[in-house]
């Protein structure tokens, strides 16, 4: 259940002024919501328009005839969209697993293990969060090039795993797990690996779900790094493929195919969003409070 909202005006009988206010507020919100949703609706609507219908004047919000030609054409392009979808799925899923496991291990060391220099090291980790990714872009590209990793999955997955925010987030959650739990397990002879996998990880499931969703959707949308690393069209991710498609059809009558591509890119994001709503809300409210 949601927390009861603040009572600006106590609700007894509804006087006319309050009724007016109520109508006004709802009207504002509905107009706002409609304009928020409109571009997305416009995308879907355009993707189902035939070539002639797209350039009809005045533009029609709902297509007169539903046409699937854009979706059919999408998979007939030079760029293999099915392959791009597969690449994105492989990269995003592998990245997400790594981006949960590796930071969780580090967070465990920073919250439940004691060693000299722990806080100093943690501060150094945090300090790296200040570095914008654009600064490391060029040297990282050079390293990947040097290693001969251009156009490989590992180049798309591994460098983005350097994610200190995830360590920070998981450490915060681990700190709220009582140390006694680990102590008891240690007395019973459990080693740290066992404690980590059997006690900490199960208790962290909600935090991991939140972080998993944030990382999955973040990686799915990532553009700059894959655009630099995946120069061969067989290694394109969806965002890179869509960008290329956009470049080819920007000014032409085939713009509908771009909108079909955008729908294809966004559907998985919306599905995850609907399934994981409560985790997203949780994640956002907790990142906001303690900045």
């Amino acid at each position: 259940m949601e927390k009861e909202p603040l009572n600006y005006n106590r609700r007894k009988r509804v006087p006319p002024k309050a009724l007016l206010l109520k109508i006004g507020v709802y009207l504002l919100l509905i107009i706002g919501l409609l304009s928020t949703i409109l571009p997305l609706f416009w995308m879907i609507s355009t993707s189902f328009k035939s070539q002639e219908a797209i350039f009809e004047l005045p533009p029609r919000l709902i297509p007169k005839h539903i046409s699937f030609e854009n979706y059919i054409n999408l998979f007939k392009q030079e760029i293999d969209f099915a392959k791009a979808f597969q690449n994105t799925l492989i990269v995003t899923v592998s990245y997400t697993i790594g981006a949960l496991l590796i930071p969780a291990m580090a967070a465990y060391a920073f919250s439940k293990l004691h060693f000299p220099g722990r806080n100093l090291l943690f501060m150094l980790f945090l300090a790296t969060m200040m570095i914008p990714s654009q600064v490391t872009l060029i040297p990282n590209y050079l390293s990947i090039n040097f290693l001969g990793w251009l156009n490989t999955y590992r180049a798309l997955i591994i460098p983005p795993l350097a994610n200190v925010f995830n360590i920070f987030f998981l450490r915060q959650h681990m700190l709220s797990i009582p140390d006694e739990l680990c102590e008891v397990a240690r007395i019973d002879g459990a080693n740290e690996g066992l404690i980590f996998f059997r006690i900490i990880i199960p208790l962290l499931k909600p935090a991991l779900a939140t972080l998993g969703i944030l990382n999955f959707t973040g990686m799915w949308r990532d553009f700059l790094w894959p655009a630099i690393i995946a120069t061969d069209s067989s290694m394109y991710t969806l965002q890179v493929a869509l960008y290329t498609l956009f470049g080819q059809n920007q000014a032409s009558t085939t713009f509908g195919v771009v909108m079909a591509g955008a729908v294809l890119v966004l559907i998985p994001l919306f599905l995850i969003f609907l399934a994981g709503q409560k985790f997203i809300v949780h994640g956002i409210s907790t990142t906001g409070i303690k900045s």
Partner: protein, 292 residues
């Protein structure tokens, strides 16, 4: 002694390796590159890059395009951040009113664009603001306004990008504000009521001051995000057009680094971007220490 370090080390090792290789080492490497004439020939053999001191930085300060990129980026930030703050606060206050049923429905609806960030949404926006066939100018025509060519007119192109970014991030920041609102103790409003405060006074004297930490967080995050503006102008205005009116610092880095392969020059400009973001972050730390 060895035992004390071994277990933590094992847990930290993967993170240490990745962060060292892809964050710590590159930061210094980037600084070094920025002091060289690293170019397409050096790509084959790093030894071809010659140290040239601060020449790249000196050139940058006289490069009119780069200066224009800085101005454009600042213009974007100055427009976008206040809009985001005011609109997301207003939205959060509306959603937080006790008379709102379906709060969750509205909140999620407003959040939709945020989840769909990226190239996809830029292509959608391109089509929304298209001069003749876009839905925006069509709606404006109902009110007798003849919409401009948003993306082809030097005066409007950046505004179209501001519009996209504000539209996309509004729901997210409103959610942060909503979380902040839920943390304000009810008694404060009651106390204000006893003192005879009306609805607006309560918002002005209780809500807004108590939301200051959230406001600070949102201004800093959106500012840092604003300095890194890239995907939107890359797509919407084909890399910063018309007449470089929407070219940003990150676009400049991208073009120099990966189109002309002037890596040394690009690295130097990335360090200037770093300086901007660093100043903003320091400001946040200072403000945060002082008040909260």
């Amino acid at each position: 002694m060895r035992k004390k370090y071994l277990t933590p080390l094992l847990f930290l090792l993967p993170s240490l390796i990745i962060i060292f290789c892809f964050v710590v080492f590159p930061v210094f490497f980037s600084l070094y590159i920025s002091l060289t004439d690293f170019n397409v020939r050096s790509l084959v053999n790093w030894g071809n890059a010659k140290l040239i001191g601060l020449a790249n930085y000196r050139h940058l300060l006289h490069d009119e395009l780069f200066l224009k990129c800085i101005v454009n980026t600042l213009y974007f930030v100055v427009l976008m951040v206040p809009l985001v703050l005011v609109l997301s606060l207003a939205l959060a206050l509306l959603l937080n009113l006790p008379l709102i049923k379906l709060r969750n429905f509205f909140r999620m609806g407003f959040f939709m664009p945020y989840i769909s960030d990226g190239i996809a949404i830029s292509t959608v926006w391109y089509w929304v603001v298209s001069k003749d066939y876009g839905i925006l100018n069509h709606i404006l025509s109902w009110f007798g306004i003849k919409g401009p060519g948003w993306l082809t007119d030097v005066r409007f192109a950046m505004l179209a990008i501001v519009g996209l970014v504000v539209w996309r991030s509004l729901g997210y920041y409103a959610m942060l504000y909503l979380a902040g609102l839920q943390n304000i103790p009810q008694q404060l409003y009651e106390a204000a009521e006893i003192d005879g405060a009306n609805r607006w006074q309560k918002i002005w004297y209780v809500t807004i001051p108590l939301l200051a930490p959230t406001t600070l967080f949102i201004s800093i995050t959106s500012m840092i995000g604003g300095f890194q503006l890239f995907t939107e102008p890359l797509t919407l205005t084909n890399g910063g057009g018309p007449m470089d009116a929407t070219k940003t610092i990150v676009l400049f880095i991208y073009e120099n680094g990966f189109r002309y392969f002037k890596m040394g020059y690009a690295a130097a400009s990335s360090y200037i971007l770093f300086a901007f973001i660093f100043i903003v972050t320091l400001f946040q730390i200072k403000l945060g220490e002082q008040k909260y």
